[in-house]
Amino acid sequence: MERFSGHSRIFARARLLAVAVAAGGMMAALPVSAADQVNQERLLNVDKEPGNWLHHHQNYSAHRFSSLKEVNRDNVKNLKVAWTMHLGGIEGGGIWSHGGLEGTPIAENGFLYVTDGWGWVYKIDAHGGRGMLVWKMDPKTDRDWAGAVACCGVDNRGVALWGDLVISHTLDGRLIATNKETGQVAWQRTVADPDKGEVITGAPLIVKNMAITGVAGAEYGIRGWIAATDLTTQKEVWRTHTIPGKGEPGSDTWKDSNNAATAGGGSTWVTGTYDPATDTIIWGTGNPGPDWDNAYRPGDNLYTDSSLALDATTGKIKWHYQHTPNDPYDYDSVAENVLVDIPGPSGPRKLALEADRNGFAYAIDRTTGKFVWGLPFVKKVTWTKGLDAETGKPIEYDPNKPVQTYIASVTPSRTNLETDICPGNMGGKNWPPTAYNPDLKLWYIPVIESCNRIKVEVMTPEKLKPREFWTGGGPSQPFKITGSVTAIDVTTGKIAGKMETPFPNLGGILATPDLVFTGQPSGEVTALDAKSLQKLWEFNTGGGVNAPPMTFTVDGKQYVAILVGLGGASDKWFIDSTPELKKIQPGSMLYVFAL
């Protein structure tokens, strides 16, 4: 932690503002200083404070939609850099030569909380039209320990706020609570274990005094889980494994004699969502391991590649929906499930939307876990002819077959040891988040248009070693990868628009009433018309955009912020598919725009 002085005047002003807000009736029952305290009431009602961005995904439903409209389609052409700040965290460690920025800033009452790739937390005072560092917290991440088992980059996607604490994760498996005023670490708790190949890259989700943590490591033979830590007692409340234990429901979907389930993957490295009406956490799960040798693990391999609904109080699984049973492609379903209510013939339909690595977008009834609609959002899908209209399963899926082959001529298998597949294992849609405009009922997907070449390695139990890759093969990149922003009309389940881009979308999306903000790994931050997806504004940051934009206000003025610094999986494992990006310099910078 490093403290920076000289901000007492600004703190005083922030408190005055807080008093004014409290006097306005929003939190009249709370003590004056509590306006800066984050509680469940505020997290449930973020629409009452549109100038703040309190959740990783903006709200519990992961809409990443801001109602702010000072910046709009008529004036966005005048958007300019207001200020920037250099961050750190590009250092290498383990198998990585540098880190990158994938985080979403959190904004509260004129202060920003951001992380860099190694999990440093920065508190930045954004008052007065410029950014001043208030403090930074160094988590002293064990870089070689964690970096050697981080499959897909030195990344940290951001913090959450609770009480007077900033809650963050580290790549080496810790949950850290930092005092919001002082930057001092209040406490920390080990949640994941890099000795088992577990690392943490996602931001925590705060639900009712608990921090919910997801884990990465399905390429290293982990058995995935979602864990809840009580932020008062600092003790674990529940931990639900995404791969059932012996005898538990779903364990019969692991039919091998290799004991594959114990290293079966199912990671949970993207922050999930929460439906307070039913006290349900909805969270995506990753691929089964080994990724490409699905004959090693016959059966559907529950609950990999699934959307999981958990009772938030107990962690008990309420329902699951699996997208790619017995996955031979590394098609994670780890993406956020966006919670959307739309009018239906018999009352509102409560949906969970997920854009999958397998190239299909899904709407699931989030009350029952049943399929509602699905459609391909990429231009090229070669692994299946499509989804069954009733079940949403791939048409070729045969529940009686222990090992699925889908369209066998292109599917990696023990008899098809080298094959080209679309989408490639980047997706589809990867971790970069979607956004949803509730007025237009449009859902915007940051698309990766990819194919790649898979070489299968036949696995045996002796090849499973702690902290070593457990992938059953690997991809190479003979094909160019591009991207798009694709809008889906949620009322019809049809594509409403597509804006193609020369490079894959590695950053994600922000929606405002009439705009969509996004970026490109070649450096551009762009604003599109929310309906036509026509480009209205662009600024080249000179770095690679690998993080989602967000927006907030300070003293009534609207700002758009985005972290810029290319890292992650694409920059290492997939760079041959976008050779033009080899010249992009690693970097670590916060850009803030305003009119």
Binding site: S97, W145, D195, E219, E468, G472, G474, S476, K572, Q585
Partner: protein, 190 residues
């Protein structure tokens, strides 16, 4: 096929300065600095192994292996001689992801009788940094001395490699093994 990462300019500068320190001044050959006691004549090669990002694919232990990045050769199981390793590092390996690290390879210096045009699609990727001939010899010496033929990685080897407070090596501890024993028993490093 592997993909190799680029290096931040700062890392390259650092590499150049380390290399300059180690090789251009005979009085301090093999990195005889305050930071690196001259206990092992292959320490310079070890530094190259890290800085040139050999660890990015072959890992610290040299076993390489399959995964997201493809299938890096196991330097533990390799039968390559010192000269063959020097050639592979300098020229890369055609049709694989093993990059070439010699400045001017396939340009001023023909590799296997080929320049860029001759190599065409077989051209290996360019390393994230270039190494001087002495760096390449040093890293080959390090691989021969510490990695080739070494069997499965051990805790002692790991501690010798990282020599830091990282927990990266804990996974290699055997049940009866304690850290202080391991430091004394540096195995092949003797």
């Amino acid at each position: 096929m592997m993909i190799f990462n680029r290096f931040p300019a700062a890392a390259i500068m650092l590499l150049v300065s380390v290399v300059a320190l180690n090789f251009s001044m005979p009085a301090t050959a093999y990195g005889q600095s305050a930071q690196a006691p001259p206990s092992d004549p292959t320490n310079a090669g070890k530094a190259v192994f890290s800085r040139a990002n050999c660890v990015g694919c072959h890992k610290w232990h040299g076993n390489g292996g399959g995964g997201y990045g493809g299938d890096a050769l196991s330097l533990r199981k390799t039968e390559l001689t010192r000269d063959q390793i020097i050639e592979a590092v300098g020229f890369g390996r055609a049709c694989t992801g093993m990059p070439f690290f010699m400045r001017g390879a396939y340009d001023e210096v023909k590799c296997h009788g080929m320049n860029r045009q001759d190599a065409g699609a077989q051209m290996p990727p360019e390393g994230g940094t270039f190494l001087r001939p002495k760096d390449i010899e040093a890293v080959a010496d390090y691989v021969i001395a510490h990695i080739k033929g070494a069997g499965e990685p051990t805790y002692a080897e790991c501690v010798a490699f990282f020599a830091s407070a990282s927990r990266v090596c804990d996974v290699y501890k055997t049940q009866e093994q304690k850290p202080e024993d391991a430091v004394a028993n540096t195995g092949k490093n003797q």
